[in-house]
């Protein structure tokens, strides 16, 4: 017992070291989103390219919706842009943009200068929808399922690695859920066999 007590300080220091070492590899900016598992908030804003057209939550259509928060002022949005173009072209998800705290003319020009990967972009000049979505800056990307439920939020730019490691698992999960929903009869057959 006495011997054990003699080693207690060493054990405590090692435990503390382990905790602090783990802290080194954690990203303090990686805050879990409060909105995951909650429905997409209601909104009523205009389309970036057409100020007379009002967009609401119901205009976001698709089995899997990606809502990408971007702005012309945001450096990393340019970095992730080519990846977004690829993702949009793959047709696996419906990619929508949320032009966040930006200037309408600059935003339109940006889409003209580069390629426009979005089905359309929502124009959120004041950042109100951004606040409802818990957005802190651009770029951020939300994965929303067909029942308008937010399934994941990614803070920071998307690239091939992020897409592979973070997005694909969630997308595959939603896809398999949807397949299970589409063929409930098959499940019943399996159940009846048991």
């Amino acid at each position: 017992m006495n011997k054990l007590i003699r080693f207690l300080p060493l054990i405590l220091v090692l435990a503390l070291g382990l905790v602090l070492y783990r802290g080194l590899s954690l990203d303090p900016k990686d805050i879990p989103s409060a909105l995951v598992g909650k429905p997409m908030p209601e909104f009523s804003l205009t389309k970036l390219t057409d100020e007379s057209q009002i967009i609401t939550k119901d205009d976001l259509k698709g089995n899997i919706i990606l809502l990408n928060v971007w702005g012309t002022w945001c450096v990393y949005c340019k970095y992730e842009h080519p990846y977004l173009v690829d993702i949009a072209k793959s047709g696996r998800v419906a990619l929508y943009g949320l032009n966040y705290k930006d200037d309408r003319i600059a935003g339109k020009q940006w889409l003209k200068d580069y390629e426009d990967p979005y089905v359309f972009s929502i124009f959120d000049e004041s950042g109100r929808l951004g606040v409802d979505l818990g957005v802190t800056a651009a770029p951020e990307t939300f994965v929303i399922d067909a029942s308008a439920m937010i399934r994941m939020k990614h803070v920071g730019p998307i690239d091939a690695r992020v897409w592979q490691d973070k997005f694909l698992p969630v997308i595959e999960m939603i896809e398999s859920e949807q397949q299970a929903k589409q063929s409930p009869t098959q499940d019943q057959e399996v159940n009846s066999e048991d």
Binding site: I31, A34, K101, S126, G127, V131
Partner: protein, 161 residues
Amino acid sequence: MKINLMCQTIVSITLVYLMATSTVLARSSDTYEFQNPVTEKRFNELNKELRCPKCQNQNLADSNSPIAKDLRREVYDLLHQGKADIEIMNYMVARYGEFVLYRPRVSSLTYVLWFGPAALILMGVLVVIFIIRRKPIALKDIELSEAQQDKLKALLKDKDL
């Protein structure tokens, strides 16, 4: 006379500079008007209690980041909608998570945070009590036997000689 003039110029230049910079400072932070001093106090208190989600070591009052500005505006609007402080807190937590609170709520996730220090102090006190109250080594054990006592005396005698 020349020196005097120079001094005057320097003083006036400094004054103009100070005035100019002070207006710049006043412009850089957003100002809100309050009809009710209580609302203003609540506004300032809430901005101290809420953490800027982007710049995590600053509260909303301290930070000049765009998101902090937006959230200050939200707090202002919510106050004028007649919302209670707790409702405003809940509104922020619903969007930005528990992280926006500088004083996180007591939950199973934050037990360590809330009670850890007290538990450590308690542990320290227990250790101190344990050490203090450990029985001192009994005097009997260190007393010499008669034979040893005689030997000691003999040795001391030798030394005296």
